[in-house]
Amino acid sequence: MSELVFIQREEFSVEDVIATVKAASKGIGAVAVFLGCARDFSKGEEITGLDFEHYPGMAENRLKDIRSRALGNFNIIEMAIAHRTGPIDIGEDIVLIAAASAHRNDAFMACEWAITELKRTTPIWKRETTKKGEVWVSENP
């Protein structure tokens, strides 16, 4: 079983995170999941690898805060947030958000809100390896 909010270097198991969320209640009828993966291009530039840095402690606390606010502001039953740090290969998963609710609209709304909030408020930084070298990404769409 995974924790509900964590940042780790190792790959996470999507199946385990979903199982942890589903274990919260037999009243869960819908789980909306967002999975962010390392793609091989960015703004037309070929990417061969990523490397993430986070502010240890603060980043985890921001994620916990996002989960708390999601549980408070949306009609959801549980939410899990996982993020990788360190080097990541193309195709690997970077971030996972799973929101569980009785009905699907609540889960979708909370999941979309949470990933936007994560990008906005969590001290995590991405460095892309391109042909020109390693470049820190300073915008977040």
Binding site: G36, F52, E53, H54, Y55, G57, M58, A59, N61, H83, I94, V95, I115, L118, K119, R120, T121, T122, P123, I124, W125, K126, R127, W136, V137, S138, E139, N140
Partner: protein, 82 residues
């Protein structure tokens, strides 16, 4: 002593991950920023950027936040997680 931490691109530009300052009395964030800019001229444009965020003891701070002895200050360039 307060500990300033630089992250991501700022770490590279500053040439260090951390910088410690001895202070005798609490200072405002805006004053600390001036001190850092003097010490690290190459960081000036980033520290003046509206998209820079600063944390004190791992919570977001404003320009009026008072920094006291023992505090940890994070100089945070725009996030790109997710």
């Amino acid at each position: 002593m307060i500990k300033v931490r630089f992250f991501a691109m700022l770490k590279g530009i500053a040439g260090t991950e951390t910088k410690e300052y001895g202070i005798t009395a609490p200072i405002k964030m805006e004053n600390l920023k001036e001190i850092i800019k003097k010490d690290f001229p190459s960081l000036s444009q980033y520290i003046d950027s509206r998209s820079l965020l600063i944390s004190v003891n791992q919570e977001f701070a404003t320009k009026d936040t008072l920094i006291k002895d023992g505090d940890e200050v994070g100089i945070l360039p725009p996030f790109s997680g997710g």
